[in-house]
């Protein structure tokens, strides 16, 4: 008889250990996956409250969700975890007070999105995010992952479905707004890429000067509209008259230095357009067999710059009767007719998002 008691006790112990192991294995907040068929799942809630979602009545929706949980017989009376989630749902419902009527009155999606934009500007919606294994951190109704994992399996599932659904509903509400923000971020990245790699090229000292002046008036979304040119060397070609009678044109390479100048940008109105600019600089041209020439250059467009310069003929200060016409070649831009492959690949998605962008600054 004693032996049978021992065997029975051992069997019960084994059952308890196995149940606890299985129980512990299931309740993992970090590895939890939703079950669409669960009565509190996102899919079930959307079906059950299709009328409220259809009219964007988020205040009433969260009130309903709070009530459903509060009256659920799956939870024992006075359960703290349930009570705290109910409190959170009611707090979110209260934040939408007054907005349901406005959203219901809005006749089209654009108007509804504008109201949602105002809601997001004025009210927080991050309440249901699990942060560092805690929900509702900093609040009196805080719930920890540990306490949720200690629940019986059915209540654990119920809680996880309800809290993640609450978060997901809010994320879905903000989806159009999020898409617009992501597109704007992509467009800002593209504009700065254009400024650095497609705009008028800058040497380090020019980057430093512009960083202190024109760029200082820009912001993270909008590169500068103007740019200083300072001691900018580039390859140039001078064209002048040759021959005894000046009856034919000669061309000669030179090192051209844009001593001081300014460029004004015309930013594209829509994605896909190229960045354009125009500007003017005082120039100095250095050639092997001649004294330095002085003049000015007009910049228009990406690669080629055109100007005139005068060169001293002799030490008496006599200059050529007719100036040389020169063109400068911005090698930065000439060498990069197309984007580097790594950047093209990265920005491919960004360009697609930027295509939906409104007019640039």
């Amino acid at each position: 008889m004693t032996r049978m008691r021992h065997v029975a006790a051992g069997a019960w112990l084994l059952v308890l250990i196995t149940a606890q192991a299985a129980f512990a294995q299931v309740n993992d907040v970090t590895a939890w996956k939703a079950a669409p068929a669960h009565e509190a799942s996102y899919e079930s809630v959307r079906r059950r409250h299709a009328d409220l979602l259809g009219t964007w009545s988020y205040g009433r929706l969260f009130t309903e969700l709070a009530s459903e949980l509060d009256t659920s017989t799956a939870w024992p009376a006075g359960d703290r975890t349930r009570a705290n989630l109910v409190t959170a749902l009611r707090e979110m419902a209260a934040r939408f007070a007054g907005e349901d009527a406005k959203l219901a009155a809005a006749t089209d999606e654009a108007s509804k999105n504008a109201i949602v934009n105002t809601i997001l500007d004025t009210r927080p919606t991050g309440l249901f995010q699990l942060v560092d294994e805690t929900w509702f951190s900093g609040r009196q109704f805080v719930v920890t992952a540990e306490e949720v994992e200690a629940l019986p399996a059915a209540r654990f599932q119920d809680f996880m479905h309800r809290v993640t659904v609450a978060e997901r509903l809010l994320r879905e509400m903000a989806r159009p707004n999020r898409a617009a923000a992501v597109a704007a971020i992509a467009a800002a990245a593209e504009r700065w890429r254009q400024y650095v790699f497609d705009g008028r090229s800058q040497y380090p000292w020019e980057m430093a000067l512009n960083g202190l002046t024109t760029a200082a008036r820009s912001d993270i979304q909008n590169p500068p509209r103007r740019q200083w040119v300072l001691l900018h060397p580039e390859v140039g070609v001078e064209m002048g008259r040759g021959g005894a009678n000046g009856d034919y044109v000669t061309g000669k390479e030179s090192a051209l230095v844009q001593a001081l100048g300014h460029v004004w940008y015309r930013w594209p109105a829509s994605a896909g357009e190229e960045l354009r600019w125009w500007g003017v600089s005082g120039s100095v041209s250095l050639r092997e067999e001649q004294r330095p020439g002085v003049g000015f250059t007009v910049h228009y467009g990406k690669v080629v710059n055109v100007g005139v310069l005068w060169r001293e003929v002799d030490r008496n200060g006599r200059r050529e009767r007719l100036p040389y016409v020169h063109t400068g070649v911005d090698l930065f831009r000439l060498a990069r007719k197309r984007l580097p492959d790594w950047l093209s690949k990265r920005l491919a998605d960004g360009s697609a998002q930027a295509a939906a962008l409104p007019a640039s600054p």
Binding site: D28, T30, I119, L120, D121, P124, G126, Q129, L130, V131, D132, E133, F136, S137, R139, T164, E167, R168, R171, A174, N177, R178, A180, A181, V182, A184, I185, A186, A188, A189, W192, R193, Y195, V196, F197, Q202, Y203, P204, M207, A208, N210, L212, A215, A216, S218, I220, Q221, P223, P233, V235, A255, L286, E288, L331, F332, A335, P340, W342, L357, P358
Partner: protein
């Protein structure tokens, strides 16, 4: 739903697979995790999606452009005047330490256009990935692990991501609506390289600090600051927040490689990788007993290198550099310090 961990690199040359390659930080974190029982049949990569952010090519392209143009102009300059002015640019190549390590710090510190290009590029990478996660799962669980210059870059990007009114619409990434789980900073330079650009805030006053959900003044659940006692990069204007709930500072002093500043060298230390694993997986992923064993000097000695005396001498030399550069160096002094540290690295590597 996986926890996404963004890796942000610091100075130096970085290939496209900089984080995933052998010896890189992702491999280092994976290798570290394998010593703990939890990861016996649950590989780290099944619980954490490790995403590397690669912004070095921006810097590489800028340098290549300068070099190319300078060379072309020099070729045409028979007088040699421009060669004197442009010679240093014409010789620019990331094979040289100044260009591969120092110049990108200088560029980030001194050039606003370059800073903004790097920031917007990275913010776009982050936002795109986070949005994809929202789209797929209705939420996004993300953390950031940054190193050296990458800590300043990450700080700036997170602040802008969370506070800018992108496209003049309400910001869905604002901390009132969403936040990162954890921020891990290794050799933190966010205070040293902080700026006052439009819309930016200094390291101690930005939103990049820990706080509760929906708190508009914070952007993560916890903030971990890891510093090597002898790493000169992390000492000037060191980051040491006071009074932040959810902030932790860990100072390590191990010497298992000559480059004590290295990303993977930091991660090799259990005092660094255990908090990270516990936070991106779960607290129970490494038990207290496992942690005590891992940091025991028998299992993780301070010096794990052939010539200990030489290593000690190296640390003394680094400490001297730290004292010389002072608490609040200007850019020139900091650059000089970096060059000296590199010389020491070469000397003690032999």
């Amino acid at each position: 739903m996986s926890h996404i961990l963004f890796f942000v690199h610091g100075v130096g040359k970085h290939a496209t697979d900089w984080a995933e390659a052998a010896g890189g930080p992702i491999e280092a974190l994976k290798a570290a995790s394998r010593q703990y029982a939890y990861f016996g049949d649950r590989r780290l990569e099944t619980r954490v999606e490790m995403v590397s952010i690669h912004y070095d090519p921006i810097f590489t392209q800028v340098i290549a452009d300068w070099q190319q143009n300078a060379n072309a102009v020099n070729d045409l300059d028979a007088s040699g005047q421009l060669q004197t002015a442009l010679g240093w640019l014409a010789d620019a190549t990331e094979e040289q330490f100044w260009w591969s390590h120092v110049a990108d710090v200088v560029l980030y510190k001194l050039s606003l256009p370059y800073r903004q290009m790097v920031r917007t590029y990275i913010i776009n990478e982050l936002a795109t990935r986070i949005e994809a996660e929202f789209d797929a799962n209705g939420s996004a669980t993300c953390s950031v692990l940054a190193h050296s210059l990458g800590t300043a870059v990450a700080h700036d990007c997170l602040h802008y991501l969370g506070t800018t009114r992108w496209g003049n619409v309400a910001n869905p990434f604002h901390p009132r609506h969403w936040r990162f789980q954890h921020v891990f900073m290794l050799a933190n330079t966010s205070r040293l390289l902080e700026s006052t650009d439009a819309g930016m805030a200094r390291a101690y006053t930005s939103i990049v600090r820990p706080g509760p959900a929906e708190d508009p003044a914070s952007y993560c659940g916890t903030y971990w600051n890891f510093r090597h006692e002898y790493d000169p990069v992390a000492i000037p204007r060191r980051f040491d927040a006071v009074g932040w709930n959810g902030y932790s500072l860990e100072v390590v002093s191990h010497y298992h490689d000559v480059n004590i500043h290295g990303f993977s060298h930091y991660l090799a230390n259990p005092r660094v990788h255990v908090p990270i694993l516990r936070k991106v997986v779960r607290r129970s992923a490494v038990t207290d007993e496992e942690f005590r064993d891992a940091i025991h000097p028998d299992n993780f000695p301070q010096f794990r290198i052939a010539q200990v005396d030489k290593a000690r001498a190296h640390l003394v030399a680094l400490a001297r550099e730290t004292v010389t550069v002072g608490e609040d160096p200007d850019t020139r002094a900091f650059v000089r310090m970096l060059l000296n540290v590199y010389k020491l690295l070469q000397e003690f590597r032999q």
